[in-house]
């Protein structure tokens, strides 16, 4: 997973889960992204780099706050641009499916 993907997944995973469960979900998402058709994965990677540019700049300046990712994701989910909305939707679907399949008791 690329940096932004990792940040999005970390934000989306339920805060009630322990580190082991979070790691399991992250591994599932990572494996799934690796399994995608190359052209879809390439498109997603391009989005990750593009959308992640500003947060990374903020990070370099010491202004990046992981808590702000939640608000950013809410904006992206409501975006008028389908690729932006679908970017979050895909990662959210993977996280939700893994969370409820791998850790039903905890979620």
């Amino acid at each position: 997973m690329l940096w932004l993907e990792r940040e999005v997944v970390a934000t989306l995973v339920s805060p009630t889960l322990d580190d082991h469960q979070r790691a399991e979900i992250e591994t599932y998402v990572d494996d799934s992204l690796r399994s995608m058709p190359e052209h879809l994965r390439a498109g997603m990677a391009a989005e990750s780099i593009l959308f992640g540019a500003w947060p990374r700049v903020q990070g370099a300046l010491g202004h990046y706050d992981r808590g702000s990712m939640n608000a950013r994701l809410e904006r992206w989910k409501a975006s008028r641009f389908d690729p932006v909305r679908q970017y979050v939707r895909l990662l959210q679907s993977l996280v939700l499916f893994a969370e409820h399949e791998l850790t039903p008791a905890a979620s």
Binding site: P37, A78, R89, H100
Partner: protein
């Protein structure tokens, strides 16, 4: 992974793909005494090993773990099996014959020889006996009965679909996938099945295919394998079949004309628990064949994804997820798509263009689905439309007409057909009436790709009937 020196095998008939089309072809030809080899890209997995629709099953049996999509506005997510038995191992097992009126209209439109409903029905009957196609012996599960109840209240026609399930005396059903039925029968008749073997391309010589080049993986080691064959049947499904033909330099009439049944979904919350183990077998046919309404897999993970698709706050509904089940409306699309294999890419690029009429049909389907779910007692409906309002009463359904737009609608499909249409009209088809690829003596297609248009019903029965018919024609011709 280490590479070992190239191995070579010989076969009389080589079948590429082991799903509904490949298994029916292999079983028919092996029973007739032909020397049949089946190659399958995915592994052979015990059909009892994994829970249906679970994460483990998706990881093991689905191509790309289920993360494929046809590009377009909107994109359409789709799923294909990648294991011995193909999509028959992962589907719901619902079975339907091709409606006679459709068969006859396709016969006329594409000039397909021997494609009357009588012919197809005789093959369908054979398949139904072989697979023990049957209806549930007892009462339907609540998720299915709810659809029936809603339809009855509205005066709509609903039917219980038959399934490829064999039931024991206690009423327990076992899905009759290809690894449980036709593939073992083919092996018993002398066929060989080679799993974990991906065909890279066909080897051509003039108007014949003389073999295939494959990559076989065993215990993490890959080896190149060449299989020489007298006859080749490509049965890899509506996406992988045209992709393989493209990789082999065969393009005329191949890959264009892809058809799907786009599905729009609702996560419906009821005031009582609903079952989550299987897929409802009741289907509302009131608006068929262009629109059908039924139920989807509704494990906890799928319920969460469906609720989230609406963008509404779904936490309270998820806390009561046992009361939520997922339903769909599927349309026969006027639009069409394309499958293109590009050099250097393992996966083909799939595109699909929905027409304005399709979008309107999807909105209508969503509203009808909402009507029947409310009639069946649902208290909250979460549509698979971003910012689509959660509906709690009939008077709120009208809002969905405007909500279903290209940029807001989340669609998926599991039925893909028509990427190598059959018929004698060479300007509109990729293969003749019996699946022989134009320009080749010994290369045939026998899977969902041949079906000339979206059938509006689960296509497994149609695919198997066509494959059995084509195999008989091959045997008579040889």
């Amino acid at each position: 992974m280490m590479k070992t020196p190239e191995a070579t095998l010989d076969a009389d008939v080589l079948v590429i793909g082991s799903g509904a089309g490949g298994a029916a072809t292999a079983a028919t030809l092996a029973a007739a005494g032909r020397d049949v080899t089946v190659v399958e890209e995915g592994p052979w997995i015990d059909p009892d090993a994994l829970e249906p629709f679970s994460l483990a099953e998706m990881a093991a049996k689905y191509r790309h773990r289920g993360l494929a999509a046809a590009l377009g506005n909107p994109a359409i997510a789709f799923a294909e099996g990648r294991c011995v038995g193909g999509s028959t191992e992962i589907n719901s097992g619902l079975y339907h014959r091709l409606p006679g009126a459709l068969a006859e209209s396709w016969r006329d439109e594409y000039a397909i020889d021997e494609f009357g409903s009588d012919t197809l029905d005789s093959y369908a009957e054979r398949i139904e006996n072989e697979l023990a196609v049957s209806r549930l012996p007892g009462a339907p599960p609540p998720s299915s009965a709810l659809l029936e109840r809603g339809a009855t209240k509205l005066g709509w026609q609903a039917v219980e679909y038959a399934r490829v399930f064999r039931y024991d005396t206690a009423g327990r059903g076992v899905k009759q996938t290809m690894t449980r039925t036709l593939l073992p029968r083919a092996v018993e008749a002398g066929a060989t099945v080679i799993p974990n073997c991906r065909v890279r391309r066909l080897v051509r010589h003039g108007g014949r295919v003389i073999g295939v080049r494959c990559e076989r993986t065993e215990d993490g080691e890959a080896e190149d394998l060449t299989i020489r064959a007298e006859h080749v049947f490509v049965c890899a499904g509506a996406i992988q079949t045209p992709a393989l033909l493209h990789r082999s330099g065969i393009r005329g009439g191949i890959g264009s004309g892809l058809k799907v049944h786009p599905m729009i979904k609702i996560a419906a919350r009821f005031p009582h628990p609903v079952d989550h183990g299987g897929v409802p077998m009741q289907v509302i046919t009131e608006f068929g064949p262009n629109l059908s309404i039924g139920g989807s897999a509704s494990r906890r993970g799928q319920v969460a994804m469906a609720l989230a698709d609406s963008s509404a706050d779904y936490r309270e509904a998820m806390d009561n997820w046992e009361n939520v089940s997922v339903y769909y409306a599927a349309i026969r699309s006027e639009g069409r798509g394309r499958v293109v294999a590009l050099p250097g890419l393992r996966a083909p690029i799939v595109t699909y263009r929905l027409t304005e009429g399709d979008m309107s049909r999807l909105a209508r389907g969503l509203v009808h689905l909402g009507e029947v779910l409310l009639a069946s007692g649902a208290t909250e409906l979460y549509p698979s439309v971003a910012d689509g309002p959660v509906v709690r009463g009939h008077d709120e359904l009208a809002a969905w007409w405007d909500a279903v737009t290209r940029n807001r609608t989340n669609l998926m499909t599991v039925h893909l057909t028509s990427s190598v249409r059959m018929g004698e009209d060479r300007s509109r088809t990729g293969a003749d009436s019996f699946g022989r690829v134009w320009g080749f003596d010994n290369l045939r297609v026998s899977d969902a790709s041949l079906v000339p248009d979206a059938p509006g019903v689960n296509p497994q029965g149609t695919i198997m009937a066509i494959a059995a018919r084509n195999s008989d024609h091959f045997l008579a011709d040889a």
